[in-house]
Each structure stands twice: as C-alpha cells, then as structure tokens.
C-alpha cells in the first residue's frame, strides 16, 4: 500500500465530520425535547403540585383527569375547533391561491395583505379582535349605527357559539399563510399539462378539480400538518380573546394544561393532560412522517 496513513486519517475524519456537525442538534433535541417529554410523562404519575415532586401515585392523575368535566369540554372544543379551523383555512387558502393565480393585477399588493396576520401575535391583535367581536362596540354596534338595527353578532358572548369566534380569529391569522403554500404549489405545476388538458376540452372547473388540485397533494399534506400542529398548540389566542369563557366554553387542551400546571398548582394533572396531548400529536404525526420519509428513500 503506497498511500500514506495521513491521507487515510483525513478521509476517515471527513467521514465523521457530518455526524459531528449533526451531533449538537441531535444532543439538544434528545435532552431538551425527548428528555423533557419523558420527564413530563414521569411527572404525570407523581403527586407534583406546586413544583415537581417524586411521590409515585400511579394512574391517579389520569383517573382524576377523566373525571373533570373541564377536560371533557376542552377535548370537545378541540374537536370542533380543529375540524373547522383546518378545513376553513384549507378552503380559503386554496380558493385565494387559485384566484390569485389568474394573473391578477395588484397581486404584489394583495399577497402581503393576506400574509401579514401570520407576522402578528395575539398579544398584539387580541384587543382589536376582542373589540371587533364585542357586540357592544364591535361589528354589531357598527352595523346598528349604519342602520341595520336587526343585525346580531354576539357569538363571543354566547356559550354555544364562542368557540366559533376563536375559529374566525385563528383562520384570520393563518389562512393567508396556507394561501402562500398553495400558491407556491400552483406555480410549481407544469403549464404544459394545463394546456394539454385544455386541448382535451376540460372546462376551468374540471381543470382544477381533475388536474390541478390532485397535483397539489404535497401542499395539502404540508398544510394539514402545519395547521393541525397550530391547532393543538393554540393557546395565546384563547387567552387573549375569551380567556376560556364565557364560562368554560372555549377552553382547549393547551389552556387546560397551562391552567392546571401553573395556576392551579396541580402539576400532576397538568402533566397527565400534556401526555395525552402528546399522544394525540404522535398519532397524527407518526403516520404522516412515516409515509413522507419512506417515499424519499
């Protein structure tokens, strides 16, 4: 063998560098994400209240959790909220993207308008939303002063409808972002396919239904994942808009968990609810990740 040992060492070092480069991120992730998840799962089996404590209580926190009507309400709200939020955002996002893709004059102006809500947190816009939805000073009042006396929009004060106002504000924030994702997807479609379909005599409606929308599958998937994760994390919005009210009508699992862990000094129950939330996220995400990452191989 004529080549020097030095060259060999460098080659081997080159083989290790990628792993070395990745390792800080992996280490941080293992400790700060998965370590903390395990810690949290562990806490859910302990008698922790104000601060973590390590007295083992088995499944007591879980049985307490499922006895709480509060938790039931927040789960039911999550179901309503997530279903509406994801479907409306997707529908509006896709619709706007398709419309905006028709060589619209002023697209450069409209796009940032649709997109900007994503840049703002609800700490910033919460008050404005609260005002707008408040029948006394908001939309209802404005309509009344404009002469439409019978106009009613008091959902935020109504136990049965308040969750829909949360949906409205949430849709306001993210639908523009979803629009951008679909727009990107639309712009990535080969125009020749569209021309070919038009030669085949497809109407615009059929063109979209049969040719274009099926091709946006990746955008749909990305949108679904991003939206479902935002839905599960929704927290600031509820705090800023309704504070969970009227009554407990707009409690969500995230606000439930926060309130039990931090305001009510029942960290064990909070951790139990967090564990269930994580399991839900995993149930959604793992099949998605599995299918997405397998395809890539």
């Amino acid at each position: 063998m004529a080549h020097s040992a030095d060259a060999d060492f460098k080659t081997r070092l080159q083989a290790w560098i990628p792993k070395l480069v990745l390792s800080p991120s992996v280490a941080m992730m293992l400790v700060f994400v998965y370590g903390f998840i395990l810690f949290s799962v562990y806490l859910s089996f302990t008698d922790s209240r104000l601060l973590p404590s390590y007295g083992w209580v088995g499944f007591e926190n879980y049985s307490k959790l499922w006895r709480l009507s509060h938790w039931e309400i927040s789960l039911k709200n999550m179901g309503i909220f997530a279903a509406l939020y994801i479907s409306i955002c997707t529908a509006i996002g896709l619709g706007l993207a398709i419309f905006l893709d028709q060589k619209i004059r002023g697209e450069g102006l409209l796009r940032p308008i649709y997109l900007y809500p994503m840049a703002l947190s609800f700490i910033v816009t919460g008050t404005a939303w609260k005002w707008f939805l408040d029948p006394g000073i908001g939309l209802e009042n404005v309509m009344h002063t404009w002469g439409w006396e019978s106009f009613r929009f008091n959902w935020i004060k109504d136990r049965d409808f308040a969750i829909y106002t949360v949906v409205i504000a949430a849709v306001w924030q993210t639908s523009g972002f979803v629009m951008a994702m679909f727009l990107a997807g639309l712009r990535g479609i080969d125009n020749e396919i569209l021309k070919a379909a038009q030669m085949d005599g497809a109407s615009n409606w059929n063109l979209y239904r049969r040719i274009i929308i099926p091709q946006l599958r990746p955008a749909f998937l990305s949108a679904f994942v991003i939206l479902s994760h935002l839905a599960i994390k929704t927290f600031d919005l509820v705090i800023a808009l309704t504070g969970g009210g009227p009554g407990r009508a707009t409690e969500l699992p995230a606000t439930f968990m926060y309130s039990y862990t931090f305001s009510r000094n029942q960290m064990g129950i909070g951790a139990a609810s967090a564990t269930i939330m994580l399991m839900t996220i995993a149930a959604i995400m793992i099949p998605y990740l599995y299918s997405e990452l397998r395809e890539k191989r």
Partner: protein, 416 residues
C-alpha cells in the same frame, strides 16, 4: 439539591458579569403592578430603598391577576435564580413557605413589633411555622357594593340592608330601563360576587366551613343551593353583553349611570376617583347586604425568597419599608385598599377608605375577618379554581342550582 443548585448558581453568577442574579446591595422585585397609579406608588418604595443605598431591579410581569408572574416565579425558582422579593397572594405564599423557599424575617418583625399591629387573619398568610416570610402591603376587602348615587336617588332607592331590599332595588332599576348590575363575565368576578352572596346566606361560620375547611356537608347544603339561586337572580339583572368584560369597564357603566350597582373589591374606587367622582356625593360604597359585620379580604404581600443570607439586610430593609406607616398610608390611598397594619392614621383617606379601615379593625376584633375565597385567601389555588369552574358554569347557565351544588362537592374533592 436546592443548596447545590444555589452554590452552583452563585459560582456561575460570580463568573458571569452578564447574569442578572440580584447582587448584594440590590433587590430584584417581581410584581404585576404595572398600571400607572400602582407603579407610581411602588416607585415610592423604590426611592425609599435607594435612599438607603439599596438598588431596585424591576421585574414586572403582568397578566391574569398575577398568574403569569407566578408561572415566571416557578421558572425562576426551578432555575435556582429566585428574585429577591415577589408579589404574592394568600396560599401562594404559604405554598412557597412550605417549600422552604422563603427567608426568615422574624428579626425585623420582632424589632418593629409587626405581631401587635397586623390582624391575625392576615398573619395567617404572612407567617409559616411561626416565621415571618413576607411583608403585607395592604388589605383589600372584597364584599363591597358600588352604586351610582344619582341613579339610586332618581329611582328612590336607598342603601339596601338585606337581600329583599336589594332585589327590590334591582327590580326598580330594571323597570326604569337601567341595567341593575354592572358585571364583567370573568370567572374571578363571578366568584367575587358569589363570595359575598355565600357570606350573606351561609353566615360567617358556614362560610368558614365551606370555603376554608372545605366541609362537604356545608358545600352540599341547601343553604349553598340558596346561594346559587341568588346568583341566578344576579344573572337575571345583568346585561346580555357581560361576558368577558373587564371589571373596570363594568365600573365605567356605574360611573356613566348605565348601571346601578357593581359588586367589586375596593380597587374599583380608583376608577371612580379617576373619573373625578366624589365618594358619598357621586357614588356610594357599602357592604353587600347581609354582610355588614363581615369583611372578606385579600392582601398583597411581598414574599422574600431565601438567597442563602446574601441579601438578608436588604430584604429586611425592604420589608421594613413596606410596613412603615408612611408607605402603608401613601400606597393605600392611591390603591384604594386599606393598610395592612391597624395603627395607621386614616387622615389621608377618603370616606370609603376611612370606612374600610374602621370595618377592618372591627371585623378583626370580632373575629369576622375572613380570607376571600374568590381571591385565593380561603383555599389553595386548585380548590379556588375548581370552585370558579362551578360558579362560572352555573352563572353562564350550564348548570341549574342543584347540579351546581353537586358539582361543587365533586370538584372540590378532586382538587383537594
């Protein structure tokens, strides 16, 4: 573990100039008093300390009546980086004291004779195992009713002294097209109303049995059902737009004459004063009908976190400044509350303030001073919030009174 954390933090703190550990000679104060008047009053304290050569590092975290600050506090303590002094309420103080996280203020307390001037009911929240751990700033009493005098006069209503007179007054106002009760639909506000009603229905002994001793019999009693029934009456006299309303907007309704009454703690007075109203002339303050003898209170305090003795002198100085009669008077005149010590002159206080001080002293002497359930001075946070859940669900029509009583017993047992 804590000790190890602390030494480590101290060593690191010594090494790193950028760290914000309160260094000796400074106090770091975590609080949620960020609105103009409160903050200005706190500034008096700051200047007092600076006069003694003690720096003040300000750490304001507002939100949720201190909930946000408590979350931050927990993170800070877990990190081994507790602030020197932290604004605290009721059971939070006891919880931290029981964790052994608070400093011992007995020396300064003995020197200044706090035990003699602070009411026992309040001391119960400032001392843990016989040790002073926090310095009370004020006493708020929560069973006040605020009324627009002009509205009452116009409708021929006097100050009601019992439930029947009160409901009659509500009916009169309603008939006159005025919202009888200004109310903000937030859990703590509903609980504040419930506090006063429960006190009037159950009486002081029943109140103590239900909310302090958490006696299931009392919680599930017919009297409790009656209390919920009265809540329903209140609900019937509130406008449709109450949900989510901030308390100060409800107060504004009384100020503007849109509503007759508001049941709210003494901090509401500041709103009237800010609007240029004069107590006794433009607006009235009186105890909730049926609770004239009693005072339910909550008190803001500053807990002193144990820093291994490194800032004991500063903590003592801060505590001493907080409890000095001059600060107690100056601060509480602004805040609307009354001093935490009963020996402060009422000279600078207005009519409502003077009455509050008198009531407090009388209630303390007669054993009628109770911690407010709604404000975390009767039961721990978990129980308090469990009661909130039931009260607010009932108020919003989710439960009828019978269900509410049953749910109350159940919720308290889960939370205990």
């Amino acid at each position: 573990m804590r000790a190890i954390l602390k030494t480590k933090a101290a060593v690191v703190g010594a090494l790193m100039a950028s760290t914000t550990m309160a260094s000796a000679g400074d106090v770091e104060v975590l609080h949620w008093w960020t609105s103009g008047g409160e903050a200005a009053a706190l500034n008096v304290l700051k200047q007092d300390l600076e006069g003694q050569g003690i720096g003040w590092t300000d750490m304001p975290v507002a939100g949720g009546g201190g909930e946000q600050a408590m979350t931050v506090l927990r993170a800070r303590v877990t990190a081994g980086n507790a602030p020197t002094a932290v604004q605290g309420l009721g059971f939070d103080i006891l919880d931290w004291g029981n964790q052994g996280a608070l400093a011992d203020l007995n020396e300064v307390a003995a020197k200044e004779g706090w035990d003699e001037v602070v009411p026992d009911a309040l001391k119960a929240f400032a001392k843990v195992d016989g040790k002073w751990v926090s310095a009370p700033v004020n006493v708020h009493s929560t069973n006040w009713v605020w009324a627009n005098k002009a509205v009452l006069d116009a409708n021929g209503i006097g100050v009601p002294t019992n439930w029947e007179e009160f409901t009659a007054a509500l009916d009169t106002l309603k008939a006159a097209g005025i919202t009888p009760i200004a109310h903000g639909g937030q859990a703590w506000q509903e609980a504040t109303v419930f506090d006063a009603i429960a006190m009037s229905v159950l009486g002081p002994d029943g109140y103590k049995a239900a909310f302090i001793d958490l006696d299931e019999g009392t919680l599930g009693s017919d009297a409790m059902k009656e209390a919920f029934d009265r809540m329903a009456v209140i609900r019937a006299n509130v406008d449709d737009n109450f949900s989510g309303r901030d308390w100060n907007l409800a107060t504004a309704m009384v100020i503007n004459g849109e509503a007759g009454f508001q049941m709210m703690g003494d901090w509401a007075k500041g709103e009237f004063l800010n609007a240029g109203k004069v107590p006794g002339e433009d607006f009235l303050c009186f105890r909730f009908p049926g609770t004239t003898e009693q005072v339910t209170f909550n008190a803001d305090q500053f807990m002193m976190f144990d820093q291994g003795g490194s800032v004991s002198t500063e903590q003592a100085a801060l505590a001493s400044a907080i409890l000095s009669p001059s600060f107690q008077s100056a601060f509480n005149v602004v805040k609307g509350s009354v001093p935490a010590r009963t020996d402060v002159s009422d000279a600078d206080f207005d009519a409502c303030g003077k009455q509050g001080m008198k009531d407090l002293a009388a209630a303390a002497a007669s054993g009628n001073l109770f911690g407010s359930m709604a404000h975390g001075h009767a039961a721990p946070a978990s129980v308090k919030n469990a009661i909130y859940d039931v009260v607010t669900a009932h108020f919003n029509g989710e439960y009828d009174s019978q269900t509410a009583v049953e749910e109350l017993v159940d919720a308290v047992s889960i939370a205990k």
